[in-house]
């Protein structure tokens, strides 16, 4: 039975399978399921063994308790890493969507937004392909990529996101400057209505933002989502500060 020795032998598909098994609460059962996934054999085949025999195997896969490498590759086949400071509004919204779910299960979706095809324009500059594809249709391209090659984009995005949210904190708070309180309990019917409205605004937050940036003209939807994220938020920050 061959067992991989490190994350460098694990592809994205296996990584997702292993991370999904982390939801098993019972430690031993979880490790056996991970062992069978890594050895590519049914867990039933391990069940008649004595635990001393499997513990030797488990000792060989302790790397699963660590994170894969954070040193991601800048080029994966024909796809090139697109620096996060060049994200567009649309790319950012979709990344937020995948990160708000279980991002380990969406590594391929996230990679398909961050790694893009490139071309050289007439001026000799590298230009990234436009974001005109669905990540769900492209994510499988990364299934067989070594997880070490792309895992690092996850913590890097999270760090970038933290910094972004701090920079534009005033755009993510209520008019009165307070942050949202998930556990807010209404006392009066007016408060209940207000909380319901806040929840509704949160649910449609990005749609409201785009609708507002489109000046309520939906034909401009793609134009807005293709705007630079940083430029857009700088402008929104300026508008809020100057109240214009």
């Amino acid at each position: 039975m061959y067992l991989p020795k490190s994350w460098s032998e694990i592809d994205v598909l296996q990584f997702k399978e292993i991370r999904e098994l982390y939801s098993i609460q019972e430690v031993f059962t979880r490790e056996i399921e991970i062992l069978s996934a890594l050895a590519d054999i049914p867990s039933d085949d391990l069940e008649d063994l004595d635990i001393s025999e499997v513990s030797e195997m488990l000792a060989k896969i302790t790397f699963i308790n660590s994170e894969p490498s954070k040193n991601y590759k800048h080029v994966i086949g024909e796809y090139h890493y697109k620096p996060l400071n060049t994200l567009t509004v649309g790319e950012f919204i979709d990344l937020e969507h995948y990160f708000s779910k279980d991002y380990n299960q969406h590594v391929g979706h996230i990679a398909s937004i961050i790694y893009r095809k490139v071309m050289t324009n007439d001026w000799g500059e590298t230009v990234f392909e436009p974001y005109e594809f669905k990540p769900s249709l492209r994510c499988s391209i990364f299934d067989e990529v070594c997880i070490n090659d792309i895992y690092g984009i996850l913590p890097e995005y999270l760090a970038y996101r933290d910094s972004f949210m701090t920079t534009y904190a005033n755009l993510f708070t209520d008019e009165d400057g307070s942050e949202e309180d998930e556990d807010e309990v209404p006392v009066t019917s007016d408060e209940a209505k207000e909380i319901a409205l806040k929840k509704s605004e949160k649910k449609w937050g990005w749609e409201r933002l785009i609708y507002s940036l489109c000046n309520e003209d939906l034909t401009k939807f793609n134009e807005v989502t293709n705007l630079s994220l940083i430029m857009t938020f700088n402008m929104l920050g300026m508008k809020k500060e100057l109240n214009v």
Binding site: E47, D48, I51, V54, F63, S66, E67
Partner: protein
């Protein structure tokens, strides 16, 4: 047996039932009770009413606890037991803990519900006339656990020790994810 305040109290593993042993374990695991309350609850469970302790000095109480905890002998692993003409076997020659049994024990231990000791033993002891599929059926495990609760604790304790040692030695530690650069 020990005599406590004029009452015969079972304290040896061949006197206590598995059910009583489980109840004692539950009392000792209760973090809301202090040491004295735990001992009083154990004695109450075994037939000494709480009110009987009202006029007992702390020195006397400590002496009773000492007598109660004085266990003689060290029971061995019993490979099997008989019940209603059926044989329940845990091993033939040498006790081995299979991955399948460990997975089921892991589930029972994780839930930490009352009665998990007898359920753990119910996983280890298999009725010889049944198949693998039936050994682990939930209803059958519950039935075996009920039978085991009526047995003496001397059958349970050696398995608790043995399984505990094997798990401590072989089981992976639930370590947090570390970052590897």
């Amino acid at each position: 047996m020990v005599t406590i305040l004029g009452r015969e109290v079972p304290n040896q593993l061949n006197e206590l039932t598995v059910q009583q042993f489980e109840d004692i374990t539950t009392i000792h695991a209760n973090q809301e009770l202090d040491a004295i309350e735990k001992h009083i609850d154990v004695f109450t469970l075994l037939g000494v009413p709480e009110a009987d302790w009202d006029d007992v000095s702390i020195e006397e109480f400590k002496e009773y606890v000492k007598q109660f905890n004085n266990l003689s002998g060290k029971p061995e692993l019993q490979p099997s037991f008989e019940h209603m003409n059926y044989t329940y076997t845990a091993f033939d020659e040498t006790f081995k803990l299979s991955v399948r049994d460990t997975k089921h024990i892991d589930k029972v231990m994780h839930s930490r519900h009352k009665g998990y000791i007898s359920e753990m033993l119910a996983i280890l002891f298999k009725r010889t006339d049944l198949t693998k599929a039936e050994h682990y059926a939930d209803a059958h495990i519950k039935l075996k656990a009920k039978i085991i609760r009526e047995l003496k604790a001397e059958i349970a304790v050696p398995y608790l020790v043995e399984v505990g040692q094997k798990l401590a030695k072989q089981m992976p530690k639930d370590v947090p994810t570390e970052v590897v650069e």
